[in-house]
């Protein structure tokens, strides 16, 4: 179970399961939402009138939780501390006029007072969010939480109001409420006002920290917080980039305030921390993996930075262009004015020389135009003090020149002396032109240099933005390719999973196994259709409750059912038991209930899963087997009885044989003897011979009877297996034989330590027979050698008796063990031919086997095994 089974594919209507679950969850043995657990076992009847439970988790978007570990707390605390420190330092710098604290280098823009205050507040918000642990009393916890929220809110407000100031062009009262800044500070639009991007960043970050510090936030809020962090970081990086290149320079949008370096660094730190907090694994379900998301964010950040920097550069370039155009326009106006003055001068000169009154009108016109242009240019350069100064100087000169010309004309009209005025006029004119010329040259030089600079900036910013865009795009393309690969892999995995699921489903269905899965966290249950079918419902039941399942169990098995579940629930363990159920159609079935709890890392139960398998077929088979076994036992008993009866008959037979057959033999032998004794002369030689043969025959028959009886006794006797010392047994048999015939010299070689597991009596008979045979068949040798030992054969000991006597022809070996079969005549060696048959029977009864090897006149070796010990 577990991850392998994707229940969603097999689940039925989730909503209708709520009834089952709810009752199941209210089961006193299951832990309720607060984690408390009741131990009373009390089955709850389903209440059809109860409303379906309203579950905020099911209705709204799932809530996520930021995980606060010691590492994240440290990081957030560090960021907050940094923000407080930088803001505090700036404030100290402001209060005590320390430039180094306000703006790191004097030619850089300073961090404004409001910015410093907002940083302190934001830093406090971060610190309060990162406060380790929760306070013991809820009151202090609440205070902490609300303090954090309040700080964040205030910081955001500062930023927001500043933005509104920019938007609606309000005055600088808000910017200077704490401390006033002089009007001509570097890079400041309005004294004391923070940069628009700083204000925006404050708004973003205050929102972000409020979301992050909350115990539970919706997913969209966490994503927005991450985006805010990303934007703040991008603004900060863009500002730092601006500071880092002298060409791009540090300039704000549309000439507005520039973000100070300390602010940029602080925003960077705070933005990164916010992204880190939201980006912890498991906080927000995000389809991409960790490194992929970081790459994605980096790509996005690069693009943002590039965009911001480029837009700023563009704004700057446009601004510069406008300024330059303005200056050129002013220059043109001045040029026009000077040209008009020169025209006036020329006209006055012409009038003086020619006395033609037609020159007076252009002169007046020129004067008028010059004066108009002066007024116009005054309006044009209304806001530039330096240009106003220039204009004023020009105006003085122009007015002086025009006055001189007029005076000249008047003088000429009135006939006064014009020599001084002419010279004066000349001097003024040349001065005017010289001054203007030098200024014009300087101005043109300036303008071209500024234009060149702007072009440089544009080019570099174009270059940087191209590179940056390309870089960002490259990152995105890489991410996309990576996602594609991952997606392809994932598709394969999904496909494999689907196939595996269908196989599992097939396996479960063919096994008639129903599966159910109860999620205690969100109170949903899934089950397969087979579950219902096992219980005899072809169409799906609306909802199953625990009590309903129990009702299907036959009453006799309910204790088993209850006990199994109770034990499992008490130990949060698993259950596995069999019981009978009564299906909907009344039929009885055996089912196997198994399943268990799934615990989370803290040991709390989060899921309950179970299998219900229809094992009726197996149970029926088991019953059959039991019955067959009983029948078999019965048959075995009968057969044993038969065999025992047969055995008893055989015993009786053997008994009667031993007794009844012998008596007539005795008579034959006895009366033959009497004949021999009493009527020897009467019967004659032939008669005596016949009588001898009669006697010999009857004795032989007696021997045969004895041997047969022994043989049958071997078969009938009960075998008692014990540990038998074969060495000692062989030695004692050898000793007996040696005693019975002391005249013979025989070398007995008996191996030491031969132990066997068998019936000692029967084994003695074996040794007596084998050693006796060896004894018998070596009787012709002067010095015989009889050996008894053991070799290893297939892991078992094989005992052998070897002699160097007469041996036998191996061609007749097949007759060796037949009853009464002999390979020698009675003249050569006596014997009935039953000894080896007896030995074979005994060895067989022990589960072993015997074989013989020999050659004529070279002795024989009989080796036997005794089978595995019983």
């Amino acid at each position: 179970m577990g991850r392998g089974v994707c229940m969603a594919k097999m689940c039925i209507d989730k909503g209708r399961m709520a009834g089952y679950l709810d009752r199941f969850c209210e089961h006193p043995c299951f832990p309720d939402r607060s984690g408390r657990r009741l131990v009373r076992w009390n089955l709850v009847k389903p209440d059809p009138n109860a409303p379906a439970p309203v579950n905020s988790a099911a209705s709204g978007a799932p809530l996520s939780e930021i995980r606060w570990s010691s590492r994240t707390r440290t990081v957030a605390a560090l960021a907050g501390g940094w923000a407080v420190a930088s803001g505090g330092l700036a404030l100290v710098g402001w209060f005590f006029e320390i430039t180094a604290f306000k703006s790191v280098l004097p030619e850089w823009v300073s961090m404004k007072v409001n910015t410093a205050v907002a940083f302190v507040l934001l830093g406090c918000a971060f610190l309060s969010a990162a406060w380790p642990g929760t306070f013991s009393s809820g009151r202090r916890e609440q205070v902490r939480r609300w303090a954090g929220r309040g700080c964040a809110l205030l910081a955001g407000l500062i930023g927001g109001v500043t933005l509104l100031e920019y938007a609606f062009g309000w005055g600088s009262g808000f910017d200077q409420w704490l401390l006033a800044e002089s009007a001509d500070m570097i890079g400041t639009f309005s004294p004391g006002r923070m940069a628009p991007d700083s204000a925006f960043c404050f708004v973003l970050l205050s929102g972000a920290i409020a979301v992050v510090a909350a115990p539970r936030s919706p997913r969209w809020a966490l994503l927005a917080a991450a985006t805010s962090g990303l934007l703040a970081t991008s603004f900060a990086v863009s500002a730092v980039v601006g500071y880092s290149t002298p060409v791009l320079g540090a300039f704000g949008w549309w000439g507005l305030t520039i973000m100070a370096i300390p602010s940029a660094v602080t925003f960077l730190a705070l933005g990164v921390v916010v992204m880190m907090l939201v980006g912890q694994p498991g906080v927000v379900s995000w389809p991409l993996g960790g490194p992929t998301t970081v790459a994605f964010a980096c790509g996005l950040a690069v693009l943002l930075v590039v965009g911001l920097t480029a837009s700023r550069s563009q704004a700057r370039v446009r601004e510069t262009g406008r300024q330059l155009a303005h200056r050129e326009q002013v220059l043109r106006t001045f040029t026009g004015i000077v040209a008009e003055v020169a025209w006036a001068h020329s006209n006055s000169q012409s009038y003086l020389i020619t006395g033609d009154k037609s020159h007076l009108a252009p002169f007046e016109a020129a004067v008028r135009i010059a004066r108009q242009d002066l007024a116009a240019s005054r309006r044009l350069i209304a806001d530039d003090p330096k240009l106003r100064q220039q204009l004023a100087a020009l105006r003085v000169q122009v007015e002086a020149a025009l006055d001189c010309f007029r005076q000249l004309i008047e003088a000429d009209r009135s006939g006064a002396g014009t020599g001084d005025l002419i010279r004066r006029g000349e001097a003024l004119m040349s001065e005017l032109r010289a001054n203007f010329r030098s200024r014009e040259l300087a101005e043109l030089h300036d303008i071209s240099r500024a234009r060149l600079h702007a072009e440089n900036v544009a080019e570099i910013s174009y270059f940087v933005s191209s590179i940056g865009t390309a870089f960002g795009l490259a990152i995105f393309l890489t991410v996309l390719t990576w996602l594609n690969l991952v997606g392809a892999k994932r598709n394969l995995a999904v496909e494999a999973l689907r196939r595996s699921e269908s196989r599992l489903k097939l396996a479960l269905d063919t096994n008639e196994t129903g599966v159910w899965d109860l999620n205690l966290a969100d109170r949903t249950v899934h089950r397969t259709a087979i579950f219902d079918q096992i219980f005899g419902y072809e169409t799906l039941e609306p909802g199953w409750t625990f009590a309903q399942v129990r009702d299907h169990v036959v009453p006799e098995d309910r204790p088993v059912f209850d006990a199994g579940f109770q034990r499992a629930v008490e130990t949060l363990g698993s259950w596995n038991f069999e019981c009978r159920i009564r299906r909907a159609d009344g039929a009885e079935r055996w089912i196997l209930c198994s399943g268990g709890h799934e615990l989370d890392g803290r040991g709390k139960a989060v899921r309950l899963w179970g299998l219900v398998q229809n094992i009726t077929a197996r149970k029926v088979a088991e019953e059959e087997i039991l019955q067959l076994n009983e029948q078999l036992e019965e048959r075995v008993r009968l057969r044993t009885a038969d065999l025992e009866a047969v055995n008893r008959e055989l015993e009786a037979f053997a008994y009667s044989v031993s007794h009844d057959l012998r008596a007539p033999l005795r008579s034959i032998d006895g009366f033959s003897r009497i004949l021999q004794e009493d009527y020897a002369e009467a019967v004659g030689v032939e008669g005596r011979d016949s009588l001898d043969r009669i006697r010999a025959a009857s004795q032989r028959m007696a021997e045969l009877i004895d041997d047969l009886l022994d043989l049958s006794r071997i078969g009938r006797a009960e075998m008692r297996r014990e540990t038998v010392d074969l060495t000692a047994l062989a030695r004692s048999v050898a000793a007996e034989m040696t005693e019975a015939a002391p005249g013979r010299s025989v070398d007995w070689v008996v191996a030491d330590g031969l132990i066997a597991h068998g019936d000692s009596r029967l084994l003695r008979i074996v040794l007596e027979n084998l050693l006796g045979n060896a004894w018998k068949f070596t009787s012709r040798r002067d010095r015989a050698r009889i050996e008894f030992g053991a070799t290893e054969q297939d892991g078992e000991p094989a005992y052998f008796v070897r002699d160097d006597g007469a041996g036998f022809d191996p061609a007749f070996a097949g007759r060796l063990f037949g009853a009464f079969q002999r390979l020698h005549t009675a003249d050569e060696f006596p014997g009935t031919g039953i000894g080896l048959t007896t030995v074979q029977r005994i060895v067989r009864r022990h589960g072993g086997s015997i074989r013989a090897e020999a050659a004529v006149d070279q002795g024989a070796t009989f080796s036997f095994t005794l089978g595995a010990a019983a």
């Binding site: 007794h659 032998d669 009497i674 009886l709």
Partner: protein, 149 residues
């Protein structure tokens, strides 16, 4: 009265051979023969066919065959041992069987000796001689010999 041996044997051949064996050992006039178990009991307790006998004159030893008609040897033995008068009477089971169960049962019921009749006649004679010698001469009977001084 003289000491005598009681032979309980149903096979006439065996009887003849046994008597001949005893004759060879000069004991022929000291053997009484009965043919079956009931007759044996009658003889011993002086009832039935042998009602006129002196019941107090019991044999020195009884050679008892196991296979007897009417009442078999073990039954006779049981009855003998059950009766106070004959409880101590030495009994030699003289039979062809060498079955272990016979031997054990005989001894359990109080037989004093168990001898297997050999088929070979010479051996049979020798066995008879030894038995007679032992039981008549060597062994001390529990019932005193009548006629001894």
């Amino acid at each position: 009265m003289n000491p005598y041996i009681l032979l309980v044997e149903d096979n006439p051949d065996d009887v003849k051979l046994t008597l001949r064996a005893m004759a060879k050992n000069n004991l022929s006039n000291q053997i009484e023969v009965v043919r079956d178990g009931i007759e044996a009991l009658d003889f011993l307790f002086a009832t039935g066919a042998h009602a006129g006998r002196d019941a107090t004159h019991l044999p020195i030893v009884m050679f008892l065959d196991l296979k007897l008609p009417k009442l078999d040897g073990l039954g006779v033995l049981r009855r003998i041992r059950a009766d106070r008068r004959t409880a101590l009477l030495p009994v030699v089971i003289l039979t062809s069987s060498r079955e272990e169960q016979d031997i054990v049962a005989s001894y359990q019921l109080g037989a004093n000796s168990y001898v297997r009749k050999p088929v070979d006649f010479d051996q049979f004679v020798e066995a008879a001689r030894q038995l007679s010698l032992y039981w008549m001469v060597v062994n001390e009977p529990p019932i005193p010999k009548r006629g001894a001084p």
